[in-house]
């Protein structure tokens, strides 16, 4: 039966953000947490989590996350990229050669970007990194920067690194750090914003997309704030510098507060506006909970609490994921997985490595609608139902099919062959579902298999409808192995598997 979404009448505001009572902490709620905070809910994770409570489960999900190290080649490139650009600009006179060298440099950057993308998928796949990386993806959808425009892999890498470290910061602090990131400086033209010649791009997006939302600032606030952010630039390509001679030191009046504000001051003032309390929470809900409208009263209540904790992000994460509202039955099993969630969840559910072929993996993210670090515009991706159309849904089915078909090594191109060799050396070449992988399930009876699969792969809402069908598929097959294989493929392609 359809559970109605909570309203302040049916579900009290005062209780909404209180921790889920221990008595409600069970297989279902734990699975809900893991699927939303990360990409999947394995039997092992759930068993472990039930020994303790949701608070521990949340802090454990972040506790053992590793840093993503900058790939060696990228870090080498970072050391020389600035000088190399200067050299080309200054020393090479022949225009043809100049262009040629620039092009080579750009191609090098592109190839490093793909390596970085692959490194990120490997990193995010590890269960201990999943919650952090999912939060990073969330922040990347707030602080949108795209690879098409910025085209500088080291800068993109460090922006993402800052967001990763931001998980433990206060949100205003993170906003300040982001305003100093070379990738952001370039993306929103902060380096064009100088005293006397202000560029309002960053100031506008700071209010509209990072902190307040539309309607909560005036054009005058933008104009004044833009002057406060003048003089920002990336020195030697990768170091932040405030150029005092290009910084406007005169008086600015932002949200009624007058002074000779600099960028950080503006961010502090921004967080004194009521809209700053709720903006990020609304984004958090859209990313993690539901694409339906959640009554403002709930959002305001959490906003109060969050503001009282100085916008501490760890507090927000802990409170949000522990809350009764988060576990409300109306919000379970209905949210369309993003392509990243779908793909990494698929690999985790099947205990597979990421597909080692750069072209294959990046292209399938592309056709599923979420190319790495490349959102369509400054607003970022729209979550929920927007992921689904006939093209993307076929792409998801093809992604599943690919995992169940034997690899034809003769058909691989040279790059792919190298990728495969490297994956084998690093012992992460288990990226396809082999018979051995399915073997453990064969010891079970068809009804047990059906129950097992539906418990761990999908949410409760479709379970009762799917179980008998799966059981029948397994029993009716020519061999137990074929039965299990067919059942799993069907389940992974079903509507329910696309939801969390």
């Amino acid at each position: 039966m359809e559970v109605k979404a909570p309203t302040p009448n049916s579900f009290k505001i005062e209780g909404a953000w209180k921790p889920l009572p221990r008595s409600h902490w069970n297989k279902e709620t734990a699975a809900h947490l893991f699927r939303r905070i990360g990409f999947s809910a394995s039997p092992e994770m759930i068993q472990l989590a039930l020994k303790s409570d949701s608070k521990d489960a949340i802090s454990n999900a972040f506790a053992n996350a590793e840093q993503l190290e900058m790939p060696d080649k990228l870090s080498e490139y970072r050391k020389t990229a600035h000088q190399e650009n200067v050299r080309i600009y200054r020393d090479i006179k022949d225009p043809e050669e100049k262009r040629e060298r620039r092009r080579e440099l750009r191609q090098q950057d592109e190839s490093l970007f793909r390596e970085y993308a692959m490194a990120w998928f490997h990193h995010a796949l590890k269960p201990e990194n999943s919650a952090t990386e999912k939060f990073v993806v969330f922040l990347q959808d707030v602080f949108v920067v795209d690879r098409r425009t910025v085209r500088d892999s080291p800068a993109l890498f460090t922006l993402q690194k800052t967001l990763r470290e931001g998980v433990e910061l206060k949100y205003p602090e993170l906003c300040k750090l982001v305003s100093r990131e070379p990738a952001m400086i370039r993306y929103l033209n902060l380096d064009r914003n100088t005293a006397g010649k202000p560029n309002e791009n960053f100031a506008r997006e700071l209010f509209e997309l990072f902190t307040l939302g539309e309607g909560n600032y005036t054009e005058a606030d933008i104009k004044e704030s833009a002057r406060a952010f003048t003089g920002y630039r990336a020195k030697n390509r990768y170091e932040f510098e405030l150029q005092l001679n290009r910084h406007d030191t005169s008086q600015k009046s932002v949200f009624g507060e007058a002074g000779d504000w600099d960028g950080d001051d503006v961010i502090d003032i921004t967080f004194r506006q009521p809209a700053a309390r709720t903006f990020l929470i609304r984004e958090l809900i859209k990313f993690y909970l539901t694409d339906e409208i959640v009554p403002e009263a709930y959002i305001e209540a959490l906003g109060e609490q969050w503001a009282a904790r100085d916008f501490d992000l760890s507090y927000l994460i802990e409170t949000f994921f522990q809350s009764r509202l988060f576990y409300h039955p109306a919000y379970r099993g209905k949210f369309v997985k993003s392509p990243i969630h779908f793909y990494l969840g698929l690999c985790q559910d099947l205990h597979l490595d990421v597909v080692p072929f750069e072209g294959r993996l990046l292209q399938s993210m592309n056709v599923m609608g979420q190319p790495f670090y490349n959102p369509p515009n400054v607003r970022g991706w729209l979550y929920g139902e927007h992921w689904i159309n006939s093209t993307t849904i076929s792409a998801r089915r093809q992604t599943v099919d690919y995992l169940f078909e034997p690899l034809n090594e003769d058909k691989l191109n040279g790059n792919d062959k190298r990728d495969l060799e490297a994956a084998r050396e690093q012992k992460r070449a288990d990226f396809l579902v082999t018979e051995e992988r399915l073997a453990p399930l064969l010891a079970m009876e068809p009804d047990e298999i059906a129950q097992h699969l539906t418990t761990y792969f999908i949410t409760a809402s479709s379970r009762s409808a799917y179980q008998p069908v799966l059981e029948q598929i397994i029993s009716a097959a020519d061999s137990p192995l074929a039965g299990v294989r067919n059942a799993i493929i069907a389940l992974l392609q079903s509507p329910a598997y696309n939801l969390s």
């Binding site: 262009r99 750009r106 191609q107 592109e110 190839s111 098409r148 085209r151 694409d291 099993g333 209905k334 949210f335 750069e358 072209g359 294959r360 990046l362 292209q363 399938s364 592309n366 056709v367 190319p371 490349n374 369509p376 929920g384 139902e385 689904i388 159309n389 006939s390 093209t391 849904i393 076929s394 792409a395 093809q398 099919d401 690919y402 003769d410 058909k411 191109n413 040279g414 790059n415 809402s461 479709s462 409808a465 799917y466 008998p468 069908v469 799966l470 029948q472 598929i473 097959a477 074929a482 067919n486 493929i489 069907a490 389940l491 392609q493 079903s494 509507p495 329910a496 696309n498 939801l499």
Partner: protein
């Protein structure tokens, strides 16, 4: 085994729970029902021109496809893999690879044009990136997500995507080609080169359909179910068309031939689809390329001829044009392993009864140093522009952002 439902109506009626249970939770049901009455009616657009794109994935060696056999430079650059015997003459200076007999015949019949030395400025030699450049129709220093055919769909199939219509694009490959990615949602249909489209007796697909029919929840789940069901209904129709198709020429058993046979079947059935995309892999010939490349070209030529003859026999040849593309050509100088490394420009083929047969564009200049690359003479977007403006009748500047000089093969 129970026969499979062929219309949306039947599908709905047979869904678990029987009766009209499904209608209760999908707002789109009425158009499903309307469609079942229309399903066999030829669409209003059935006489429009059709484009078939053949991807040669991996980077086809252009210099060993169209051979400049009177140029000493060719043999200087390719002392061991340079071809001498069995060449099939095109002009005084150029000849086909010996495996291209069928293409040679098509040329003599006036149904094949060869656009020489096609590429783009500042070539990229990465498979991934160069494929992306070709598929998006962008410059090498420009990043685009949408494909050139996707933008064609956006420009011609505007308005609300109609779920009852035939797909605007069909691809036969295991991944949606980037060429098809569009701004707005467009109905794209994909299938494999062989085997039943709808799974048929493939138990994994039957299982999937059963799960799809078992679903009974609202919200996003029913939206997903709805989208998937639409695809399934298309699968059914396509399967029926393909399994009942009687080709009038002989298709070989390789994937490319089988893919083109499927395309012929759908064209014969008057689908409204205007773009088809098929793919042949294996062109990344870094080592011992002689036999491999010969086999690939034999498959390609044979498949193209079988397809063209089939279209002609079915009187569809006036409506269809077929073109090939590959992400790059290969290095003029052979490497040390009897193969060739990634290069730049290469010829491509455009086939059809409406094309201006023969050579177009300028042959590459081979007077280059060891290990240097060819300089393209025709921009691939000029080829696209001609196809868009003159064949698909869609303003190419809207799709490509700029005007490019047409290549007069239409």
């Amino acid at each position: 085994m129970e026969s499979l439902p062929l219309t949306r109506r039947e599908f709905i009626r047979r869904s678990a729970g029987g009766g009209l249970g499904f209608l209760a939770f999908t707002g789109a049901a009425p158009s499903f029902l309307a469609q079942s009455a229309l399903a066999q009616t030829p669409g209003p657009e059935r006489d429009r021109t059709i484009l078939v794109v053949i991807q040669l994935a991996g980077g086809n060696d252009g210099l060993n496809t169209i051979i400049p056999h009177t140029d000493d430079n060719y043999y200087r650059l390719r002392p061991t893999i340079g071809l001498k015997n069995g060449l099939l003459p095109i002009s005084d200076d150029l000849a086909f690879h010996p495996s291209c007999g069928p293409l040679h015949e098509l040329l003599k019949e006036g149904q094949l044009s060869i656009v020489q030395n096609v590429g783009y400025p500042n070539p990229n030699r990465s498979h991934f990136r160069s494929t992306e450049i070709w598929e998006t129709g962008s410059s090498s220093d420009e990043m685009q997500r949408e494909g050139w055919l996707g933008r064609f769909f956006d420009n011609t199939c505007s308005g609300t995507p109609n779920e009852d219509a035939d797909p605007v694009g069909v691809h036969i490959s295991d991944i949606v080609p980037q060429s098809y990615l569009s701004e707005s949602s467009q109905a794209i249909f994909g299938m494999k080169p062989r085997g039943r489209i709808d799974g048929g007796r493939d138990p994994a697909d039957i299982a999937f359909e059963k799960l799809l029919a078992a679903e009974h929840i609202a919200g996003n789940a029913s939206y997903l179910q709805h989208t998937m069901m639409n695809t399934l209904v298309t699968e059914r129709r396509v399967e029926k068309i393909i399994s009942g198709y009687k080709p009038k020429s002989k298709y070989a058993y390789n994937n490319l031939s089988q893919s083109l046979k499927r395309v012929a079947a759908l064209i014969h059935a008057d689908l409204e689809t205007r773009i088809y995309f098929v793919s042949q892999g294996g062109y990344d010939t870094h080592a011992n390329q002689e036999n491999n490349h010969a086999r690939l070209l034999a498959e390609l030529s044979g498949a193209m001829q079988a397809f063209q003859n089939d279209l002609t026999a079915h009187k569809k040849d006036d409506q269809v044009m077929t073109m090939t593309f590959s992400e790059f050509g290969r290095r003029p100088s052979e490497n040390g392993s009897g193969g060739t490394d990634h290069g730049t420009a290469a010829p491509l083929f455009v086939m059809g009864s409406q094309v201006k047969s023969g050579l177009h564009g300028m042959a590459p200049d081979l007077n280059i140093a060891q290990n240097k690359d060819l300089k393209f003479s025709t921009d691939f977007r000029g080829v696209y522009s001609s196809v868009l403006d003159r064949w698909l009748e869609c303003d190419a500047t809207k799709v490509l952002g700029h005007g490019y000089e047409h290549v007069p093969f239409i």
